[in-house]
């Protein structure tokens, strides 16, 4: 910190002698947050990078092995499976969730009585514990006695092993995930829709624009920044999916639903291979940064932020 000499043309807050109390108060007030940031975030990130280059079981001292963990992972077929499952999960989950949420948000955005009640009911699944919700859906997906197969039987179809079949399990968990967090996206997009100034619609109506044109020319540009933000956050959190697969299938059958974080957890805390697990953490972090970069480059650059 440099001490600046008092001069009249300087901004008020750069005068140390006059403002040191305020500075001190400011730094002290952000201290708890930054203490946590250092102890439980910054230092652990650096340590994770280091542990990724070692052989460590939490008990004995870590032993430097260079790039070995990364080489092992690259040759580990389950690692690639888990990465693939996670990408598939995200690629389907994010657009489906956003699209469904937008449809329902448009439906709700019509000066309805009882809108508050509808909104509240739509976020009820989000408020529920994912592990608990996972168990509920395990029951619904149950092959013999589950409700879903009951419906299939009613309409004359064969029973499906929703979370016991290799091909379907991942998609069943995606469906549960879409369902659980849909309400969150509905509320967010509804708020975005309500930003659209009504006089814009009226002006368009005078110009003879139909519903479809109004949607594309007015609604889409106005909501696109929030829609895009929602996509990015949703992508980042879906790449870290853990609770639902853990509770519903624990990765099975076989490796059908072994998503990245689940495999990382198992490597670290069941097999005590902290080296490969840390390397996986580093890979996930880099992967998230790359995905975020590309989504900003290819979609973010087309977003219209200037509407005034």
């Amino acid at each position: 910190m440099s001490i600046s000499v008092s001069r009249n043309d300087q901004p008020r807050h750069l005068n140390f002698q006059k403002n040191w109390r305020e500075w001190l108060a400011g730094y002290l007030m952000i201290l708890p947050n930054f203490l946590r940031f250092f102890v439980f975030m910054l230092i652990p990130i650096l340590v994770t990078i280091y542990i990724g280059f070692t052989n460590w079981d939490l008990i004995n001292a870590p032993r430097w092995v260079g790039l070995l963990n990364y080489k092992i992972l690259l040759r580990d077929s389950i690692f690639w499976t888990s990465l693939k499952k996670t990408i598939l999960f995200t690629i389907v989950n994010v657009p489906v969730q956003s699209f469904l949420a937008l449809l329902i948000a448009i439906l709700l955005n019509q000066k309805l009585k009882g809108l508050n009640l509808f909104r509240t009911l739509f976020i009820a699944p989000w408020i529920c514990m994912p592990v608990a919700i996972g168990l509920t859906w395990t029951w619904i997906y149950n092959k013999e006695f589950g409700y879903l197969n009951h419906i299939l039987e009613l309409i004359g179809l064969a029973k499906v092993g929703w979370i016991t079949s290799q091909d379907i399990t991942l998609w069943s968990i995606v469906a549960t995930n879409v369902w659980e967090f849909l309400g969150w996206h509905i509320i967010l997009l509804l708020a975005a829709l309500q930003i659209v100034p009504p006089d814009l619609y009226e002006a368009a109506l005078v110009d003879g624009a139909n519903n479809w044109t109004r949607f594309w020319k007015i609604t889409v540009p106005v909501i696109s920044p929030i829609f895009f933000y929602d996509l990015v956050v949703n992508m980042i959190s879906t790449l870290q999916i853990f609770d639902l697969p853990f509770a519903m299938t624990n990765g099975g059958p076989g490796n059908a639903s072994r998503v990245f974080n689940l495999y990382l957890y198992q490597k670290g805390f069941q097999f005590l291979q902290m080296g490969p697990a840390s390397a996986m953490g580093v890979i996930l972090f880099i992967f998230i940064i790359i995905c975020t970069f590309f989504i900003f480059k290819y979609i973010g650059s087309r977003i219209n932020y200037d509407l005034s």
Binding site: M29, P32, F34, I43, L121, A132, L135, W179, A191, G268
Partner: protein, 278 residues
């Protein structure tokens, strides 16, 4: 022929019917979970009726007595409560500092901190766990509470945005009157920020109540498990008694559903905030 008014009201009632239909389908899994939890063990496997023929609380008693639910509930509540208080104080302070005070490096620090929302939990998990081991905190409440009670980026952001809307003169006049910055914060700013604190409070409460990965890693003993971890175990032992399992699920989600009913507006504000106020 219908008049314009009649057509509009027909349109409205069809819209309502559509929304109620969608909501019924959407909430069906929760209704089915409630229904199963109230059924007799024999009825669980014999019928698909949503309303049980005989409503019984037997499954709740089984879940409550055979499993450590009481302890899990207590642990979850106590952990969530401490983290809630800690988060409100830490984020209230940081939000005030970032939103109202002036100090060198303020904006850089703020945006740097904000960027940490992108960091996946998996990257910090193992060293954070090692810190807990070194502190001898494995299987203690400290392990569950301390890493989360000193605020977070989302909460600090929320509080900062709120404090930025307050006029600067307010805190300046208070400091001129001789009150220190902390006094001003406690006496004037905190009472004014009740709406923002309430929003942050309910969001924190739900996030903590439902959190899973960290408690799973740091607690092994039965007496320290939280509900989410306990429930994940149930799956292994309880897998065919669906009514008891659904009763346990109900017990885990009812507290948060009650809070949703009581504080619906705050949840909606909290969600909207996360997107609209970038």
């Amino acid at each position: 022929m219908l008049t314009l008014g009649q057509r509009q009201s027909l349109h409205k009632s069809m819209l309502y019917m559509l929304i109620i239909f969608l909501l019924f389908i959407y909430l069906f899994p929760l209704l089915w979970q409630l229904s199963t939890s109230l059924k007799d063990a024999s009825e669980v496997f014999s019928g698909f009726n949503l309303i049980p023929q005989k409503i019984t609380s037997a499954a709740y008693f089984t879940a409550w007595s055979r499993f450590n639910l009481q302890q899990y509930l207590f642990n979850t509540a106590i952990v969530a409560l401490f983290i809630l208080i800690g988060t409100l104080i830490s984020c209230g302070l940081a939000g005030y500092a970032f939103g109202q005070l002036q100090f060198p490096g303020k904006n850089i620090l703020f945006y740097l901190y904000l960027a940490t929302m992108m960091v996946p939990a998996a990257v910090t998990l193992i060293p954070a766990y090692y810190i807990i081991i070194k502190l001898n905190w494995v299987n203690t409440y400290y392990a569950l509470i301390v890493p989360f009670m000193f605020g977070n980026a989302f909460g600090t952001f929320l509080m900062r945005q709120f404090f930025m809307t307050l006029p600067k003169e307010l805190s300046e006049s208070a400091t001129i009157d001789g009150a220190g910055y902390f006094q001003t914060w406690w006496r004037i700013m905190l009472p004014l920020s009740k709406p923002a604190l309430a929003t942050l409070g309910v969001m924190t409460l739900v996030a903590q109540w439902n959190s899973f990965m960290w408690p799973l890693v740091v607690t092994q003993s039965q007496s320290l498990k939280v509900l989410s971890v306990g429930l994940a175990d149930f799956r292994l032992y309880f897998s065919v008694q669906w009514n008891s399992l659904m009763a346990a699920v109900m017990i885990a989600v009812i507290p948060m559903l009650l809070i949703l009913i009581l504080a619906q507006k705050m949840f909606i504000k909290g969600i909207q905030f996360s997107g609209v106020n970038r």
